[in-house]
Symmetry: C2
């Protein structure tokens, strides 16, 4: 039986310590691929810790793909050391058919995840080609249809509840602190506020971000590698100018459609790589013409899938094979993994400067303060400085100085912790309400542990189009997984609704569930 | 003799009323092309007004190109009604050889402008082709050389005075009002600050800008035509995506190099159209492949030239001839014409929706608050809404709300008036100091009436390269007109220094002049 000492655990919790110890033994080969791990109960007994602690450590290892589970058999070490072997990764916590609550403080019992279901939910057919204009046009129309209702102009009584976007509730923004910091900045930094900033942004803000990435993401990044911009959308246009227009950009399918729209609008070639249960389909990526692969390995939108450690190494290997290849890691809502530790960034295991890391303050602070950033590998930063630093930084010096102070003074960390608790509570209330409702017998909750959305797979005879239309006539704006596929034909009968819950009021939960029941 | 009534002058000053009356008679044909106007003295006597009033009205008509002056002969009506006639426009106030002060409150005496000098100063050779990469590379290097010194990192005692950029002095930004307005916005608009803004920007800010354009530029623009963006640099990328990558963008030569860099960085084809004394060279534009002509008709950088009314009509006629043709009017520092009225915008006489108007708050407020805007013709705005409104607005909702209040509450108007007086005083102090110095006998001051820079033509045997190097070793960073030409061969012996004076301290004027004397 595996044995670990719990003496020098430092600031780690018990489960973090166990997670790191097992992960380390997998990485150094002490634990070998396909090796069976002890059952949770016997491991807990042997280490004199609670089953919940083992459960949480295993959950984290599962989420990151270091281990996999076989229903009714147990847990096994994944084989990610040789990425050329066939992918035997089974993404266990993707699918909880019994809708158990997977909170770290709750023993979740037997894991009933099922590979077949996962395969059915995500169509992994080879669907890859550069989109022609007609198809692009169709995609635009579909998306416009599903999100174009402007609820702001409707009388309040008739305002629909919109589950297609993640707003930040005004009650949750730290207005008084923000206001105080702006006043401080204006009264003490007048002269520097008027000086044009470096093209890449304020050094203070870049330093604060570098420190934040080191402290909370374990990433060793220097301020000189960071570029601040008015939104990731803007930064994509910088990437296109930096990397060149002749490269082919690989995008996730399904995926966040705006990214595809931006690349298409800049008229650069895109190719779409399907998502599997462990991340993007590497075989299809290898057969594709993609040079730059754009992914969200910590939390894919909309499927919620976490890229397994095996696929991560495969991705890095793929990128290393050609000097034009790079990976864009979009870490858009990493702060809000609601179970266990945040998933480590791909950038953290990149030894060859192949990862462009992007993040923003849209989810963690507000999407209406337009501040995003990217971390460039040294050679790309050099190229930026030589060819693109004539651009003025797009973010106001007032807000850069305020945000730098907000991070450095510790407010950002507190805010994120507060928001993570708030979202966890909101999600739990919503999930509990679903479980107690008639909806329970007609739906399956998926991917509820990570970020600000989860999935609801509905048993219904209606098409997705009908579902959305019926929802709208009931004052509920929803989107379905089928809206996020880039390729035709789209399966209109997946019945997976994406629940973006961050902006909803706890008070409207019953009304949402009532409307959902009425629809199905 | 011409006679006008001064009874119904409304809120206009006497000279504005006279300017409008004469302009109207030129436009309606009462005054015909080549018709001689009364001398200032006799016209004043006849109308029972002061000579200065007539002088100011004539100056404005001259600046806008409605009339022209022939030295020692008098003033004549321009022929702009038929743009196909040869250009007989003589741009009178471009060149004041006697360095007289042209302040509206001063009778400037005889106008000694001279067409030949103007022709010599700006090389109007046909120099037009799409730049190849090598030439582009050279231009980049030249420009980097001339502006890349980072004065911020030097010890204060060794900090050079930089005349190549227009900073805003921290003393001149309305910090206390801005701080007060942000506080108000944060305390009263919490919920709307958290709501995602329309892609084109906050309706309140767009309305405030539309009203400002109506009140101070006489432009009839609806808020729905306005797009807010984080800097004009960003808006150019939107224009490229909107207009298409197959079009050829015509740029002014010489011109503001950043615009050229942006188009080149987006890999769209550019062609360079030379500047003449009355605006861009229309003959060369007509022979060029340009579809979109990018100009600053109110105040060209760096020559300071105002596009004559004749050339404006020719430009509009050119644009009307082909549906792919448009004019981008960059009105970047129109607020700071220091003599007479602001030059009317080209947009104001555009009857066929061919002008894209751009402006920013970089000069009028601060370049470090990144807020710019453009006014699109209706059909382009429709296209934007259909194809590009998926983009999030790049400017923070906090700063949009603050700026909207700043404009609506009248602070912006007050600020601009205050800054115009400040700049006029600063310029006068600088010009007087030059006149009293030994520099006076070795230089000619050009284009000092408009915007935040003027030109100093130096008598010297040194090349421009030597001039800049000698300036630098004396702690003065300068740029020359020759830095702004897009085409080789560049005349390295023009000796025209561009004096961007907005950011200098009045206290450093003597030091600047001392250094300039030492150089030549």
């Amino acid at each position: 039986m595996l044995t670990y000492s719990f003496e020098d655990i430092g600031n780690d919790t018990l489960y973090e310590h166990l997670y790191k110890a097992v992960k380390n033994d997998i990485l150094n080969g002490t634990l070998t691929p396909m090796q069976k791990l002890p059952s949770k109960r016997s491991f807990a007994k042997n280490l004199s810790i609670s089953t919940i602690t083992v459960e949480n450590a295993y959950s984290q290892l599962l989420a990151e793909g270091y281990i996999f589970s076989v229903p009714k058999k147990g847990y096994y070490v994944s084989d990610f050391s040789n990425p050329l072997l066939p992918d035997i990764n089974i993404k266990s916590d993707f699918h909880n058919t019994d809708m158990k609550q997977n909170h770290p403080n709750t023993d979740t019992g037997q894991n009933t995840s099922n590979t077949d279901t996962t395969q059915n939910i995500f169509n992994t057919d080879v669907r890859q080609n550069v989109l022609n204009t007609d198809i692009r046009q169709n995609i635009f129309n579909i998306d416009t249809m599903s999100t174009s209702v402007n609820t702001h102009n409707m009388p309040e009584a008739f305002t629909s509840i919109n589950l297609t976007v993640n707003h930040i509730n005004a009650d949750n923004f730290p207005f008084s602190i923000w206001s105080k910091l702006i006043r401080e900045v204006i009264s003490t930094e007048k002269s520097s506020l008027m000086k044009p900033l470096p093209s890449a942004g304020s050094y203070e803000l870049r330093s604060a971000i570098a420190k934040h990435l080191r402290d909370y993401r374990g990433l060793k990044v220097s301020p000189e590698q960071i570029i601040i911009g008015a939104g990731t959308e803007y930064l994509y246009s910088i990437i296109i100018q930096l990397m060149g227009r002749k490269l082919v950009y690989g995008l996730e399918d399904p995926g966040y459609k705006k990214i595809s729209k931006i690349y298409n609008s800049h008229k650069v070639a895109c190719t779409y790589i399907p998502i599997t249960a462990s991340g993007i389909n590497m075989d299809i990526l290898r057969k594709s013409s993609a040079d730059i692969m754009h992914i969200s390995p910590s939390h894919h939108f909309p499927t919620g899938i976490v890229t397994s450690i095996r696929t991560r190494y495969k991705l890095l290997e793929w990128a290393n094979e050609n000097k034009t290849r790079y990976i864009i890691e979009d870490d858009y809502d990493t702060e809000f993994r609601l179970v266990g530790k945040p998933i480590p960034a791909l950038l953290g295991i990149d030894r060859n400067e192949k990862v462009i890391y992007m993040n923003s303050f849209s989810k963690s602070l507000s999407s209406t303060i337009r501040i995003s950033y990217m971390v460039l590998p040294a050679q790309l930063m050099k190229k930026y400085n030589e060819t693109l630093s004539f651009y003025s930084c797009t973010v106001s010096s007032f807000e850069q100085a305020t945000l730098a102070k907000f991070i450095s003074d510790g407010y950002f960390e507190k805010h994120i912790n507060r928001m993570r608790n708030y979202y966890r509570k909101l999600r739990d209330t919503l999930l509990n309400a679903i479980r107690k409702s008639p909806l329970n017998s007609n739906c399956t909750i998926l991917e509820e542990n990570s970020g600000l959305h989860f999935l609801l797979k509905i048993n219904t005879d209606k098409t997705d189009t009908q579902l959305k239309a019926d929802a709208r006539s009931n004052g509920l704006i929803i989107s379905c997984m089928s809206d996020y596929y880039m390729h035709h034909p789209i399966n209109n009968n997946e019945h997976i609704i994406i629940i973006n819950y961050s902006g909803i009021d706890a008070g409207s939960i019953n009304s949402i569930i009532e409307k959902l029941c009425r629809i199905i």
